[in-house]
């Protein structure tokens, strides 16, 4: 697996953007198929995909970008068939709803000679993709755990809120637990709140009733963290030194920028990765920049020093 840093990526994109059409005036179609905005993170994906589409159309007049959102895996399969039939895309950037169900349909698109970029959730058969762009969920958990361990001096009691039972959630939790191994930090409890702010509020209230002393809370998504913070404030508990999330939601990045003592960091699993994928695909279509491979965006800590870089005030997430 090849790891590229953010700066390498940006320079690739910059070169691609700077290189004009290189004499190819042939009209090309980039189809983008993503889940519809049903919650915060996918809302961010849609926002960044639309922004990238506008920017790419501007930079490369001969690339037509078609962004299509689907509310379910079945709908996404239908959308792929429609895209193929109506637009015959030269490249497809897809964030699959589910790996198993989308693998076959994407393979059909690939067989027609389309360049395939897969984002976030992989397909069951990785040979189908030409390019894979994703975040590092293990690092999301591990980087948070390492920071927490350092701040707590290697000991304390923490509670964890899980998302929905999926690979993404499992990896984050695994990264977190593995990083805490060998320390004296004790995970008191771990339950599902389904990446839902209301359920996180309820669950945190229950945790607070169950444990009289908690040093820190980790909700593996910032949407849940907002519910957690509300429950802690209501209970007036001051034993909780840190309440941390992940994903780099705009509200939480604001707290980090403001130097909030309870939420001084977040870790990005940025919905803007769709933009990275679309830029690279455009580079491949037009800049003669070969981009085949795997790009795993790291999950560095968002701190007061670098928060500006992860702050998208207009994004819905």
């Amino acid at each position: 697996m090849k790891y590229l840093s953010m700066s390498t990526l940006l320079s690739v994109a910059a070169i691609a953007a700077a290189a004009p059409a290189l004499g190819q005036e042939e009209q090309k179609v980039m189809a983008v198929s993503i889940p519809a905005a049903t919650h915060g993170w996918t809302g961010g994906v849609v926002y960044h995909a639309e922004a990238a589409a506008a920017e790419i159309r501007e930079a490369f007049p001969n690339i037509d970008v078609v962004v299509n959102t689907s509310p379910s895996a079945i709908a996404q399969v239908g959308a792929l068939e429609d895209l193929q039939a109506s637009r015959d895309p030269d490249a497809l950037v897809i964030l699959p709803f589910t790996s198993e169900e989308l693998t076959g349909p994407v393979e059909t698109v690939k067989d027609a000679g389309t360049f395939i970029t897969v984002v976030d959730r992989g397909l069951t058969d990785p040979r189908i993709q030409d390019l894979y762009v994703a975040g590092d969920n293990i690092a999301v958990g591990a980087n948070t755990a390492n920071w927490l361990s350092e701040q707590l001096g290697g000991e304390g009691d923490v509670v964890v809120l899980r998302g929905i039972p999926t690979v993404i959630d499992d990896e984050r939790i695994q990264g977190f637990q593995d990083a805490l191994e060998g320390t004296n930090i004790n995970i008191l409890d771990i339950q599902y709140a389904n990446w839902n702010r209301d359920e996180a509020f309820n669950l945190m209230q229950d945790y607070l009733a169950k444990y009289s002393h908690i040093d820190a809370v980790w909700a593996n998504d910032d949407d849940m963290l907002l519910g957690v913070l509300e429950a802690i404030d209501q209970a007036g508990r001051d034993d909780i030194k840190f309440a941390l999330g992940a994903n780099g939601m705009v509200d939480i990045v604001e707290m980090v920028r403001a130097g909030d003592p309870r939420t001084p960091i977040s870790t990005p699993y940025p919905p803007s990765m769709i933009k990275t994928a679309m830029y690279l695909t455009a580079a491949n279509l037009n800049g003669q920049a070969p981009v085949r491979g795997e790009v795993i965006l790291d999950a560095p800590l968002i701190t007061i020093d670098n928060a500006e870089e992860f702050y998208f005030p207009d994004s819905p997430f």
Partner: protein, 298 residues
Amino acid sequence: MGVLINPDFLSATNVSNVLTRSTFVAIIAVGATFVISSGGLDLSVGAMTAFVAGIMIMFMNALVPSLEANAIIAGIGLVICVGALCGLFNGLIVTIGRIEPFIVTLGTMGIFRAFITFMSNGGTIPIDRSLRDPFRPIYFGEVLGIPIPIVICAIVAGIGAFILYKTKYGRRCAAVGANEEVARFSGISVARIRTTAFVIQGICVAIAAVCYVPRLGAATPTTGLLWELQVITAVVIGGTALRGGKGHIWGTIAGAVILEMIANLMVLSDFISEYLVAAVQGVIIIVAMLIQRFSRRS
């Protein structure tokens, strides 16, 4: 039994948390008791809560510059009207369009959910910062030591019980649910009774939204997700027959509290894998229904 699992279960804070949390579903379920006892069903309530909460927030935010904190009162007035209209919309399609309520509200569930997602761009609709403090007490405040949502819920249930048990409308509601033909031959306007039940449901949804918005200060596309199932479960646990004909308001309230209590106990207990929590909840609900069924027969 709860105390055996965890002594904190009966602590004042925990009991108050659980009761306060259960009020959203309880208030909506009061309306659902009318719809279900009149032989209908409303699957759109969860999405409708999110939609009317979103409308309320956008309206209040727009009024803040001119009305300041009074925007909250205007928002409450508006949301009750919008809720009633949503209910009227459901009711009219069911009665005038003569379509199964299950299908109509399945359709409007999708419509309301899409609207809130569109309004929020898939993200969050937060209330204006200046409204946060004046609005917070509606969820977090207390009257005589009782959390305000519980007071509101008790009032809604009291009015609901009065209408259902003591008024002509309430008796007709049950009559329509028990046997539509007989009700029609006795001169009852079935369409009007059913439509009114959906309007009552819409108003209850709006009242629940008023309690909900100050809790987290925002509406999102995941607001009220799957509440329709919790509401129906609460109504049925409470002793109302799903096929209509009779309704029990206080049973419904108890059902909503029991549902929330089961969820709370699952978190407080340490015996069950987090993967199996939902299964245990399901088993408890089914066992509770079976006990109810057999104790009634004997």
